[in-house]
Amino acid sequence: MSMGMSKIVKTVSSVVFPFIVIYGLYIIAHGHLTPGGGFQGGAVVASGCAMLLVAHGSIWTIGKIREKQLSILESTGAVAFILLALLGLVFGTVFFKNFLVGNKFLFGEIPGYLSRVANFNTGGVLPLMNFAVGLKVIAGLFAIVLVMAYATSTFKKGEMEDGKR
């Protein structure tokens, strides 16, 4: 698997990969309107990245992005999430206060009671938290798969079990 699979699998996975990523980003961005959210969309995008990793091999993938960059991305998502919660403490009253709801310029409109119109400009701080958690989940889950695949890419069969290392 370290050298990758056949040319057919590589081509088909390269064609399918943008559709999976667009679908996952749609789930993340519309988390406050349709079912799904940051974790679900991040899991979908990480599944697409894992498909690309399996098709092309871990050596090719580690040349594209390294696990240190993924770790930095995941920490960025975590810091953004906690910073949004702390901004609720600054501008509002308590931790995790939804301080953006009801304002005039960003995600501030309020749908009426029992409204069925999907207005994207609603939700207060929820879309920003969805983006932060989505970035965190994409980077975290793909970092786990990438590190495990790259670390075991040169093993012979049963080498780890026999205690030769």
Binding site: H32, E74, F95, G112, A118, T122, G140, A143, Y150, A151
Partner: protein, 90 residues
């Protein structure tokens, strides 16, 4: 050996009876026992939080600390896996 089999049969029978009684005592499907908090969230999430999706408003607004704990668990898992597997490749 026969005594151990007998004890295992008695143990699993008791556990199965408890499970059957617990399944008989649950509330019917789709009607929770205490719906006060559910009704509050369903009726107020569009005017308080401003989001049409009630589940996301519960996850990120009403129960934000739960999501913070989940993010901490994911961060710890990723840190542990990278710590174990980073130096394995020469």
């Amino acid at each position: 050996m026969l005594k151990r089999d007998f004890a295992a049969v008695i143990f699993f029978t008791v556990v199965a009876v408890f499970f059957v009684f617990a399944a008989l005592l649950t509330h019917p499907f789709g009607s929770p026992d205490n719906p006060v908090m559910d009704d509050y969230i369903i009726h107020n999430t569009q005017t308080e939080v401003g989001a049409n999706n009630g589940v996301t408003s519960v996850v990120f607004d009403y129960r934000g600390f739960d999501t913070l704990g989940e993010a901490t668990v994911l961060f710890t898992a990723v840190a542990g896996v990278i710590l174990v597997f980073r130096r394995l490749k020469k």
